[in-house]
Amino acid sequence: MVARIDSTSDRVPVLRRTWVQISIYGAVCLAIFLVPVVLDNDFLLNKYARYLVLGILAMALSLSWGYCGILNLGQALSFGLGSYCMAMALKLRTVPVHTGEGGLPDFMVWNNVQELPWFWAPFYSMPFALFAGIAVPVLLAVLLGWFVFRARITGVYVAIISLAALVVVNLLIIDQQRYTGGFNGITDLAQLEILGMEFDAYSSASYYLVATVLTVCLFAALAITKSKTGLIMQAIRDHEDRVRYFGYDVAHFKIFAFAASAAIAGIAGMLYTIVMEFASPTFLGVPLSLSVVIWCAVGGRQSLLGAMLGAILVTGMQGALSESETFLDTWMLVMGGVFVAVVLFLPKGLAGLVETIVEHLFGQGRAARAATGKPAAGKDVSGTGKKAEEAA
């Protein structure tokens, strides 16, 4: 039987075999870690760290959208909440100019707030902030998922509801300027310090922090997709109703996928505050949220790594184009063109393209079969002859 298992795992698409996937994911993470070795430029490292954080965000969406079919247009909600949790903790570590040590954050003073609001107080504790940066998005996702998925709301309605939730929280944050800094967000933050290590946004330390978290999140997400729960998620994406008749509670699996994605997005949000040195309502804005979908689609939503690299590629290109003089006016157009081209010609994104190419080069049998579009002749099970014909 061992021989059988080997022979079948040989026939899994090359890039979907577990050990190939682990090696490629590992190699990419290693390459990310090596960047500061060859690049001694804190400004560029900060820029790249930002791209990596957005890569984590896109990877999180791939987990829910690509693997479980939940198109979450409000992905930036989890991201923004994580970002604000970190910003609140770092703000409380800043010594305010006017009020001195232990005083109120500056923007509260400007808004005539007398006392630190109750929900700010726990953020004096960094462990609490780190916990909240994950727990708040997860709780919100579970709550939203509970209502949406138990009511069997699917498809475009989920997209609209998640987008609406994002807009509501965004407006709330802008509106509650006294407690949130409103439109300006939370600025002038202290540096993160963990176990005596300082994470200056413009330093290789922060870059390594981002790279480490990225690696952990990527492999955690990979482990989920390789588990049976991950398989059931994919079955739900494929044919949700059929899954129920095997005894699985579809809502539970969807809530899980939604929440796991929110957790990773929340972590990415915390990192974003660290590398950007502020939190802003734009972090949970509609434009960012929709961009995540585009990155995922370009990179390949059904591949965690693809979605991540898609985000890095697109944001990197965006950065380069918007800074170059030739494309100063037209870079939005160029990006739009790239997106339309990918969606039209590469339904599985760049990852899908790479998978197809690798399969043609190294795959066994699959490529040939794909070319004819038919399965291997299954002996007597070709199933083409109808009984009726024979009876006649």
Binding site: K228, L231, D241, R244, Y245
Partner: protein, 250 residues
């Protein structure tokens, strides 16, 4: 008298149209019951009612004395009911072994399954299952490219992997060759006894081969029940099939 699976005066209507209208059916444990009837008789709807896809507007459904009609689909499945659909329903983007792995549902919780690999220790047995239904050459293929007959076989294999107490089969041999139909008949005869089966079919020779008792539905109601001979002699049944080409040609 109570049976293992029991439908008591069950009815459902779609926008006023009563697709199933006061159906009562009692199936004993380990029995293989054939359910026949002309097109539109409500056979598929009857299976939908049992597995929870459709909720009855009237009457009750009991499995081993336990009412099923208020449970959700997944709860009914956990209670021991498995279903093959008339339009074969498999996971088109997943491979044959992945399909089987999903169907192999000893544990149904999110976190219980999070700690299990998608390719489990039982994969050996599942692969044998694929072999048994003649899909050993299609293990790598996404189920979407299988032919209609192969998809039928895959869904039957899914039910074998699921291994439920009660198996509901909606037209399992549609699109199969005569040889495959014989193979299916063999399989069903082996399943009977260990499982309780309800098989909806139009192919009378297949039914004759496998059945003990046949229930005939017509216009949402139970028209007749009995052995093949009883049914074939029954004038009401003949009349019901009139116009649809007789009982064998349906």
């Amino acid at each position: 008298m109570t049976g293992y699976l029991e439908l008591r005066d069950v009815a459902v209507s779609f926008n006023g149209f009563r697709a199933v209208d006061g159906l009562s059916l009692t199936v004993e444990k380990g029995e293989l019951r054939c359910l026949i009837g002309p097109n539109g008789a409500g056979k598929t709807t009857a299976l939908d009612l049992i597995c929870g896809k459709v909720k009855p507007t009237h009457g009750s459904i009991l499995l081993n004395g336990r009412p099923l009609d208020r449970l959700e689909e997944h709860e009914i499945a956990r209670a021991g009911i498995g279903r093959k659909f008339q339009i074969p329903s498999v996971f088109k983007e997943l491979t044959v072994p992945q399909n089987l792995e999903v169907a192999y549902c000893r544990k149904t919780g999110v976190f219980a399954n999070l700690l299990r690999f998608a390719r489990s220790v039982e994969s050996d047995g599942l692969e044998k299952l694929a072999e048994m239904v003649g899909l050993e050459d299609c293990l790598d293929a996404p189920a979407g490219i299988l032919s209609h007959g192969q998809t039928q076989w895959l869904e039957i294999a899914l039910l074998l992997a699921q291994d439920p107490q009660v198996i509901l089969m909606d037209e399992p041999t549609a699109g199969m060759t005569a040889h495959e139909t014989r193979k299916t008949a063999e399989l069903f005869k082996r399943l009977k006894g260990r499982h309780t089966l309800i098989v909806v079919e139009h192919d009378m020779s297949f039914i004759k081969e496998i059945s003990d008792i046949i229930s005939v539905m017509h216009q949402g109601r139970l028209l007749a029940e009995g052995t093949v001979q009883d049914i074939e002699r029954n004038p009401e049944v003949r009349e019901a099939y009139l116009g649809s080409g007789g009982i064998t040609g349906a």
